[in-house]
């Protein structure tokens, strides 16, 4: 049987696409409200700090960030191919690495709390 890494790449893409479909509009609304001067309770320093210090909060944040960024990276890779960028393996390496590194950075920041 031919070996392929497609399921490994595609699994988190589908999971991230579903997660962002369900969560991102509400999450963007939260930071939009903060920008409009109506800061939601959860974005106050004490409550967000308390949320992010808890291990469950850390797991939730890292999961959302990693799956979101991975699905974005995958979709951007396919889109770049569609608009004529043919260096697919290079594009894939850069985008997936960026998604992974940003997620690791988020984890590092969380464990500094």
């Amino acid at each position: 049987m031919a070996r392929s890494n497609k399921p490994i790449v595609w699994g988190p893409f589908a999971a991230g696409g579903t997660l962002t479909a369900f969560l991102t509009p509400a999450l963007v609304t939260l930071t939009l409200l903060a920008g409009l001067g109506h800061v939601p309770d959860v974005l106050a320093y004490e409550s967000l700090h308390a949320f992010a210090v808890h291990w469950l909060g850390k797991v939730a944040l890292i999961t959302v960030i990693f799956l979101s960024l991975w699905s974005v990276a995958h979709r951007l890779r396919i889109t770049l191919y569609d608009i004529g960028v043919r260096a697919d393996s290079g594009v894939a390496a850069v985008l997936y690495s960026a998604a992974g590194l940003a997620s690791i950075a988020a984890a590092v920041f969380l464990f500094r709390l």
Partner: protein, 133 residues
């Protein structure tokens, strides 16, 4: 040894211009480009976590930055594109996950509708828990 190939096959030029040949292609690209806004917003949140880890003053400065006109404009675009992602994703879900009961397939509208209902409920609960209203 490879046979010498003397013919010159036609190689179709690949550019981004095909996008504008049909409104369907433009909608497809709008869907695909929604990822740029979702990605940018998520990276902004990673930066926010860095600011949170720095301490209260940095976090308050981050909140202050959210109030800039650029940030508001970006958020409006990000909200629009993320909603477009949600709508297109749920409309495609019945194609990716067809549900069969007995001989018949569950109609697409039922599967998509169930996702919309769950999404609306989840968003309301999330915004309520976050103290947005």
């Amino acid at each position: 040894m490879a046979e010498e190939v003397s013919r010159k096959p036609y190689v179709r030029e690949m550019t981004y211009r095909w996008i504008f040949r049909h409104p369907r292609y433009v909608r497809y690209m709008a869907r695909e480009f929604s990822c740029l806004f979702i990605g940018a917003w998520t990276l902004m949140m990673v930066w926010g976590l860095q600011q949170l880890a720095e301490g209260r003053a940095s976090w308050e400065a981050f909140l202050e930055m959210l109030r800039s006109p650029w940030s508001i404009a970006f958020h409006c675009l990000a909200l629009g594109f993320s909603l477009y992602h949600t709508v297109t994703w749920f409309n495609l879900t019945p194609k990716a996950l067809p549900v069969q009961i007995g001989e018949a397939f569950v109609p697409d509208a039922v599967i998509a509708g169930a996702h919309y209902a769950a999404w609306a409920l989840l968003s309301l609960v999330l915004l309520k828990l976050a103290g947005a209203y």
